[in-house]
């Protein structure tokens, strides 16, 4: 077989959140029960990517309690406040701050009550692993559960609501000038491909994804987004195509619409870059889309590196590459050796 290898890179930036003056809000309510166990009512939909886990970790961090003490009730117009959609790589970036705000407020309430219970100045108190402690020590003075119990006893729910508005102004209608998005995601990927110059078949043999997560709140979940995103990007680049003939779908079966299998996706190397963004929770921002976008461009550039031919149409089917090679040959721009 006539295999040629090539390397290519693709970069991108991606406006995180909704932009264009569309409402881009997050909100959450946190309630601590009498035993210190805590429920976060979060409107954000978890797609399995882990926004519930992010919400849990943010709440645990801010409240000084264990993640095991937290339960998240998510995405129900009957019980959770509106947190906007899970799209635009915005869930962590926007809802994370809303949860952070709610947790901070509840923590103030807890410390306020603890200060009265302990007869100790508020500023000397901190919460750590579910216990109110003196600042700088881990020595437990009273459990947050006991404090929450007192709050409930006094008719205060030990609850707080937090909100965050990430809405931007729209850009100028004539020039598109303006601050389009609150922030941007950034990523660069390196692809290594093998091109079979006889058949035109391209295989992705290596992918390295350097993705700026701002701060990886849950690194394994971030890697999950990066790897899954790149696999979807690979599908876009090489395999998947929804064909319509005269407006009628011809690929309405997974036998014809080809999603990459475990044998098509190489090991994806995740390079998590962390350039903290003060607008996100603990510096974090979304990675779902930044993880997907550079893959096809990186493959296109790697194909050029391998065979010196630029493909400008997706998907990069074997047939397309094959005929591009034939054309290049006929122009004397490609030789077999």
């Amino acid at each position: 077989m006539a295999i040629r290898k090539g390397l290519g890179i693709g970069s991108m930036y991606y406006g995180i959140g909704y932009g264009f003056s569309r409402a881009d809000i997050g909100s959450a309510e946190i309630e601590m029960a009498e035993d210190g166990t805590t429920t976060v009512y979060s409107g954000a939909c978890d797609m399995g990517q882990g926004v519930m886990t992010v919400v849990t970790q943010v709440a645990a961090e801010e409240l000084g309690i264990e993640p095991e003490q937290i339960r998240v009730v998510a995405a129900d117009t009957g019980s959770t406040p509106d947190a906007g959609p899970t799209s635009g790589s915005r869930a962590t970036f926007v809802q994370g701050v809303a949860v952070q705000n709610a947790a901070r407020e509840l923590r103030e309430e807890i410390l306020d009550m603890a200060s009265r219970m302990l007869e100790c100045p508020r500023e000397n108190l901190d919460v750590h692993r579910g216990e109110v402690c003196e600042v700088g020590t881990d020595r437990p003075m009273v459990s947050v559960g006991k404090v929450a119990h007192q709050l409930h006893f006094h008719g205060r729910r030990a609850a707080a609501w937090g909100w965050h508005d990430n809405t931007t102004q729209d850009v100028d209608p004539e020039t598109s000038q303006g601050d389009a998005y609150a922030t941007y995601g950034w990523a660069t990927q390196l692809a290594e491909v093998e091109v079979d110059t006889e058949t035109g078949r391209v295989r992705l043999t290596k992918l390295v994804s350097a993705t700026d997560a701002g701060k990886a709140i849950n690194p394994v979940a971030v890697e999950g987004q990066i790897e899954g995103g790149a696999a979807m990007g690979l599908g876009y680049g090489l395999y998947e195509q929804h064909i319509l003939e005269n407006g009628v779908p011809r690929t309405a079966s997974l036998a014809f619409y080809l999603v990459p299998t475990a044998m098509d996706v190489p090991d994806i190397e995740c390079e998590i870059v962390e350039v903290p963004d003060p607008r996100g929770p603990f510096g974090a921002k979304g990675v779902a889309e930044p993880a997907t976008i550079p893959t096809t461009p990186a493959i296109l550039n790697a194909i050029y590196d391998a065979i010196g031919i630029r493909i400008t149409e997706t998907p990069i089917t074997p047939e397309r590459v094959f005929f591009a090679i034939q054309e290049a040959k006929s122009r004397g721009e490609f030789s077999d050796d």
Partner: protein, 159 residues
């Protein structure tokens, strides 16, 4: 016309009525309420419905009920023992192999079948064994890692 079938499922015998052309998947899901096996395509292209039939992984969407009679059927619901998840299940969780979860049961059944047959597979063998299970979320890397970790865990248990 509906007929009575006795199916040997997850170590017990379950009686049910079904049309003979109904799939094992539909009968498991609708009649026996074993909904862990998912219907992602109903034509053997996604693997979400994978169960074991006499120890082998099959796409239950294409097995007609009568063909499952007198055979040992194992579904995802039977992998945990006494509330203790199987190592493949535990490692899928720990290594981050689960995202939306829809492919997960079928994926686990394929991996489980592989490890029954080949307790120490290479990554390539793992990828081959799960290549009939489409996952749209993870990019497969963490699933391969989970299966490898499960193999190690099971190997350690055996020694």
């Amino acid at each position: 016309m509906k007929q009575r079938y006795a199916l040997r499922v997850n170590g017990g015998t379950r009686e049910t009525e079904a049309e003979p052309h109904e799939s094992l998947l539909d009968v498991l899901r609708e009649n026996l309420r074993l909904t862990g096996s998912k219907k992602g395509c109903n034509e053997a292209e996604c693997g979400s419905c994978t169960v074991l039939l006499d120890g082998r992984p099959v796409v239950s969407c294409l097995v007609l009920v009568p063909d499952a009679v007198d055979r040992e059927i194992v579904t995802i619901e039977a992998l945990a023992e006494d509330g203790e998840p199987h190592p493949v299940q535990r490692q899928m969780v720990e290594q981050g192999g689960v995202q939306c979860g829809y492919c997960t049961p079928g994926m686990i059944m394929s991996a489980y079948a592989l490890l029954q047959e080949n307790p120490d597979p290479t990554d390539e063998e793992i990828r081959f064994a799960i290549s009939g299970n489409i996952c749209r979320c993870t990019g497969y890397g963490k699933i391969v890692k989970a299966v490898r970790a499960a193999a190690e865990e099971m190997g350690n248990e055996g020694t």
